[in-house]
Assembly symmetry: C2
Homo-oligomer: 493 residues x 2
């Protein structure tokens, strides 16, 4: 602060750049609230003042915060600042995103509103609101928009911030196409602009296809926003149950596209078609989807004597929905029996590909872990042999491996702790376990009588809701990025 | 075989030493069947021919196998032979241990008999038999005896074989008190004899204390055998529900003693009292038991308005029973609500200390994993720092760490695969998940309407039983020791 001698403290603990960037993002979020404002104004449902007030309030606070912190140097974000920025964004944006839910219909409590906004911006898609069909158009659109922002945000974080912060083995993707070895913010901006175009194009393609298979314009835009972000919010309480048939196939395709590594699309556009077809993570992901789909479909035909087409369709749609972390449900698959429930529980713990909008453990980590186990086995056989686990034909360094393993252990332990805590609030075992998994994995629906695919999170008690909010945040930022803030080592210079 | 030139093949794939040792152990098992034979003869219940026939048959087959393989060289067991021996023992002994259940009451099917014997020798303690109270004394005693043999067997395996085979990070215990750097079999024999005395003494003390608190002689001997082995078979369908009060405290103490590292007792007898009191694994284990006990007891007093003493007693007894992997139940703790169910599910996934009769992940692995995660966090903060996870004031080598992590991943993935497979046989989700956990963790009771603490495994279909048999075997031998046999690398020279 003084600035006479060396100024290391100004560099390490200057929170102004963090505040400035968060302030800017909050201001942007406020500006986007003018979209639902305009929609409600056009529809004429009288709810437009809610979004106007929210937009003004949000832009005002965000703008003032940015101004107050504008003197900071954003050119050289340190490690600690980058960590604080990442978590700070996903705490600040939901606070402001929740305002419209409190000011107008559904006139939610602070807990419910923050839950819904966190569920939106983390692309979890668990909802505490029921009677969605009777909510104002602006509110529905705002929920979908938050998911869409959360989706593009997490792709940028996964491609730039997490590799830089060495979180969960994401550093393995550091030398990917984008590594220009520049400063973190210019690189983030560059990638964000490239990815954003792809994101917009896929969303638009999804929207048009939904229209083509018969969805209304409003349903199509909302579901396009929540499909491509693998968010899973819907415009009706029955989720995709209201759109059975062709829309399920469309959704399956776009949920799949949204859960592939976005860097491959950039390469594809640049004329490199090989990478996307030779990506072993994509191969493994498709193989998992295909096997679960076939087994579930055959199970359905055999046990419940369903016809072939609906069996296959419901299987591929719901499997893709859960493994990609979208979380739409077209049927109450709990009625398919215990096998389906276990299968969907396990699918949610697998997740999509790294560098996409999906969450959970992700396919590449399982690939690395299984490769490490096979190395273990070879080492048992030949104790003095030198083997290294491999991923995509490259050696996995011990640092990446232990980072991936630490992620997996943290994921499982966090799930166990969250499940026990949810149990303490009085929930049954299936709800506690699946609630913990669906929150940390950002999937959306849980299992059991309350939060199952045809239920919602509204009836839970407030303590459970706050626990799930914490779970969603922690899961979205790959655990370690949040946990590190709670260690004393982090706050030391 | 020929022996003219170099004879590597004779050394690497000579199955005779394995066959010889398994044959000897089978013969010994047959000889011990003369105990239930004698008991049934004395009691005069007419079932003694069953055990005489079984004993003769078992000793005959075992003896012939040993004779046929006697020409092998057991002095220098290779790595592959040691692996085959370890798994071979736990496959062969249950086959013969099951014979009495088929030949006489309960006149079980082959599946049920093998399930019960595997559940016994792996010290799992899940039972497919009901109406235990009306079974002949010899049958009940035989079940308890198998658990007792399984318990001492696994202590020796955990102290000698697994460290030597580098399974699941157990190599960290290689330099413990016993490492005489000798050949594996002499060392095994030496440790077995030392440990056996301690095991017998603890069992006898347990037996006397059970008598002192009012158990009948027969109940006391059976429960002493299954307490000290953390096996959990009982003589009644109501398990420890039939012995509420003082016996629960006695059982808690001895289940705890049985799940501590046995090497500490050897040191204690040799006059070294410090190690047992300074063992960080024991400290962590006691802390976990204490916290779960207090929370569950308070929960009981608060929610169900139970009195203080029974709340504390039921909490400490059932928590110790599940975390140690014994699996006695004194009440249907599923009635305590969702929190209790999740808590007991999680407890079963923790397990006792390494080098004891208990199974599951075990405390030392969680200690190493958490230490590795804290290293990860420090590395994020200082990317170029050199940190190593620690256990008991020693650095954990990367090899041990990756071995522990591989174990944890295999444990969770195996549980997921087994749960999905159990679901496919038509079981509900809670039964599938808890069944997979209780089998691989060798705990005993599951959760849900069928295999819960007041239920039994009899009503399951045969496919589910065989899946659980595989789970028990794989879990007891720390997964990798069995899985390695299914890799092609293992069978190459
Ligand atoms: K989702
Ligand atoms: K047990």
């Amino acid at each position: 602060m003084s600035g006479t001698a060396a100024t290391p403290s100004a560099h390490t603990f200057d929170l102004r750049p963090v505040g400035y960037l968060i302030g800017l993002l909050v201001t942007c979020l406020g500006a986007t609230m003018l979209v639902p404002f305009a929609v409600d104004l056009v529809v004429g449902n009288g709810q437009w003042p809610v979004f106007l007030q929210s937009a003004v309030l949000t832009m005002l606070v965000g703008g003032l915060a940015a101004l107050a912190c504008a003197s900071g140097n954003t050119g050289r974000l340190g490690l600690q600042q980058t960590f604080l920025l990442t978590t700070g964004v996903w705490v600040a944006l939901p606070i402001f995103g929740a305002i419209p839910f409190v000011l107008g219909p559904p006139d939610a409590t602070v807990t419910d509103a923050f839950f819904e906004a966190m569920s939106g911006l983390t692309t979890t898609g668990s909802t505490v609101f029921s009677g969605l069909d009777s909510l104002p158009a602006g509110v529905l659109l705002w929920r979908s928009m938050m998911q869409w922002f959360g989706g593009i945000g997490i792709v940028v974080v996964a491609m730039v911030f997490l590799p830089e912060l060495r979180i969960g083995g994401m550093q393995i993707f550091r030398t990917e196409a984008f590594d220009t070895l520049g400063k973190i913010l210019p690189r983030a901006a560059e990638i964000a602009s490239q990815i954003s175009w792809i994101y917009v194009i896929i969303t638009f393609a999804c929207f048009l296809t939904y229209i083509a298979v018969g969805m209304s314009g409003f349903d199509a835009i909302n579901h396009a926003l929540t499909t491509v972000s693998t968010g899973g919010f819907s415009t009706t309480d029955s989720s995709f149950g209201a759109f059975q048939g062709a829309p399920e196939y469309v959704a399956s395709v776009f949920m799949l596209l949204a859960s592939l590594p976005f860097v491959r699309y950039v390469q594809l556009i640049a004329g490199q078609a090989r990478p996307i077809f030779r990506d072993s993570q994509i191969h493994a992901y498709l193989a998992i989807i295909a096997s679960f789909t076939i087994v579930l479909a055959v199970f359905q035909m055999w046990v419940d004597e369903f016809a072939v087409e609906p069996s296959l369709r419901e299987a591929v749609f719901n499997v893709t929905s859960i493994i990609s972390g979208t979380g739409y449900a077209s049927v109450n698959y709990q009625l398919w029996g215990g096998f389906a429930m276990v299968a969907f529980f396990v699918l949610g713990l697998i997740g999509g590909c790294a560098g996409s909008t999906s969450c959970s453990v992700k396919v590449f980590r399982y690939q690395i872990l299984l490769s490490a186990i096979s190395v273990q086995i070879r080492r048992i056989h030949a104790p003095h042999g030198v083997f290294a686990p491999r991923f995509e034909d490259r050696r996995v360094t011990p640092e990446v491996l232990s980072s991936v393993m630490a992620f997996f252990v943290l994921f499982i332990v966090s799930m166990g702790v969250l499940a026990v805590a949810l149990g303490l609030t009085g929930l049954d075992m299936v709800t506690s376990l699946s609630g913990a998994a669906t929150a940390i994995g950002n999937v959306g629906p849980g299992l059991g009588p309350i939060i199952g695919p045809s239920g919602y999170f509204g009836p839970l008690n407030d303590t459970a809701k706050w626990l799930l909010i914490a779970g969603m945040l922690v899961g979205r930022l790959e655990l370690m990025a949040v946990y590190v803030l709670f260690t004393s080592a982090f706050w030391k210079i």
